[in-house]
């Protein structure tokens, strides 16, 4: 298999996310929940534990950016550590 960035399991699939519930719909639904959670922050009494979490939207932004960072770093690590399936077979 190629290590290609753009090779996508979804685009040419006939699966659940692709057919029954379209993957864009899932993204819209998740976005809607995220917007709701962001707005909810203005109505809930927040008490910060660490200082930095006083900022509005800290947890959401950190979750979003943090996980994108982790996935992109994983790509780089994979280039370094990926070997053929039978690497340890002799």
């Amino acid at each position: 298999m190629s290590d290609n960035f753009t090779e996508d399991k979804i685009s040419n699939s006939t699966g659940w996310l692709a057919k029954k519930i379209n993957s864009s719909k899932i993204i819209w639904l998740l976005s809607l929940i995220c917007v709701f959670l962001f707005v909810a922050e203005f109505f809930v009494h927040r008490h910060a534990e660490m200082g930095v979490d006083e900022y509005i939207g800290f947890y959401g932004a950190y979750g979003l950016i943090g996980s994108i960072f982790l996935v992109f770093l994983s790509h780089q690590i994979r280039k370094l550590l990926k070997r053929p399936e039978d690497f340890y077979d002799d």
Binding site: K82, E85, Y88
Partner: protein, 566 residues
Amino acid sequence: MMIDIPPGLILILGALIVPFLKGYLRGVFLLALPILSSFILYNLPDGSHFAITAFGQHLELLRVDPLSRIFGYVFLIAIFLGIIYSLHLRTIEEHLSGLIYSGAAIGAVFAGDLISLFVYWELTAISSVFLILARRTPEALAASMRYLIIQVGSGVLLLAGLIIRWNETGNITFDHIGLESVGGVLIFLAFGIKAAFPLLHNWLQDSYPQATPTGTVILSAFTTKLAIYALARGYAGTEELIWIGTIMAIFPIFFAIIENDLRRVLAYSLNNQLGFMVVGIGIGTELALNGTAAHAFSHIIYKALLFMSMGAILHRTGTVLASELGGLYKTMPFTSIFCIIGAASISAFPLFCGFISKSMILSAVAYEGHYWVWILLLLASAGVIHYSAIKVPYFAFFANDSGKRPKEAPLNMLIAMALASILCVGIGVWPSSLFYILPFEVNYIPYTESHILSQLQLLFFSALSFAVLIKLGFYPVQSKSTIIDTDWIYRRLAKAVVVLITNVALTLHSNLFEVTILRARRLVDQLYKHHGPQGILARTWPTGSMVLWVAIFLGIYLLLYFIKNI
């Protein structure tokens, strides 16, 4: 009194009777053992109950206190679930191995001194290896031998540490140890191997995915959590653990994102969850230690649940490679639901058990003001959602349809998964049930508006990023491959070094041998030439030869004398 039998010993002795039972009777007997054991543990008051004198030392085989009690309970729950999950098996080796292994782990938890701890510590290593061997593949055989070497190695370090400590202090009680002495450091390393500290971790990801479907479920519960218990007992408040734990919580994430074998993904996420517990031990406050015990408790249940769901897939389809699976929700709906419950628990979704226990550790870190540790653990929490909570159910049950239409998991597996799911939700909804058995008094409220909201934000924004990355094709493609980890050091580098040394030695040996033979032959030839039947020296009388040699030695002597006096 019957009550004073150590709970672990019941499982070990019970295992000896199992081979004589058949059919339903065996099943009932297997399930009765952990129930009987729990009953005895429940009725044991705190204190030391079973002591013997050996090696001139007082050995405490049954010391019960709140810290050991909670681990005892959860180990009994784990083996009970494990037995239900494996009831369909016709062979008994996994049942025997599982019973002795869990009995040894429970025995170790109630060991009041380091010698009894050592005996049980090694017994867990030796008894558990059969869960890997039972897979009967060449890969499993090789992995089980690597596992055994490393596990027994941990025991040898523990033995060395305890002997040094015994010598230094004359005391082998298993209480706070600390890193002040050499013995303490060795014992720390022994615990660290079993707890899968960074760079000592790889036995875990190497061996667990090679075990049988049922074997991995049982393996996932005991060894590492026994080490967590031992660290909490001996090294609470050791600051080094805070950073060791933080690194442990972060680095497995990268491997879990790129790994294709879903049981290995779970092994990496097991490692990451241990990181949270190790941080809690390093912080060492009452809240942190409560958090560690609570997290170990919920972790054993949801991790077993996740391994059960993957084991059911392996049992039905013969593979757990993400690249081979997809669309299984159609024929395995119950397994899918149970897997998602496990996933919600590990990602600390409110109303699931992980939320309660992980919150306690994170709050303890925040209260003690470890800013960067807190930030990094929060990143690790976001990562869990990606690789463990979404990736595992997504690639197994949804993603693109693999065309596989396996039957739903066997009934006994479904029952085990259902019970584990009930526990996950039960603890999440009624945290006071778990708080009741924690080692210290609890003054912690997990469900505050603020806390629920921040956790939901973290979860849903991370989930959104997963969906977007998959949609855009930026998520690492799951393909058949080997991802090398530190096992490369002993499976490749060390092997290469050994081969190199062997080759050099062989070359040297053969060269030396040839040269020596050649020299010896020449010597013999020379001797033959001069002393043989035709030799010059053979023609004269031996006295003549002797006179010649005397003259030569005299000459050499004179020469040396002359050189010396220059």
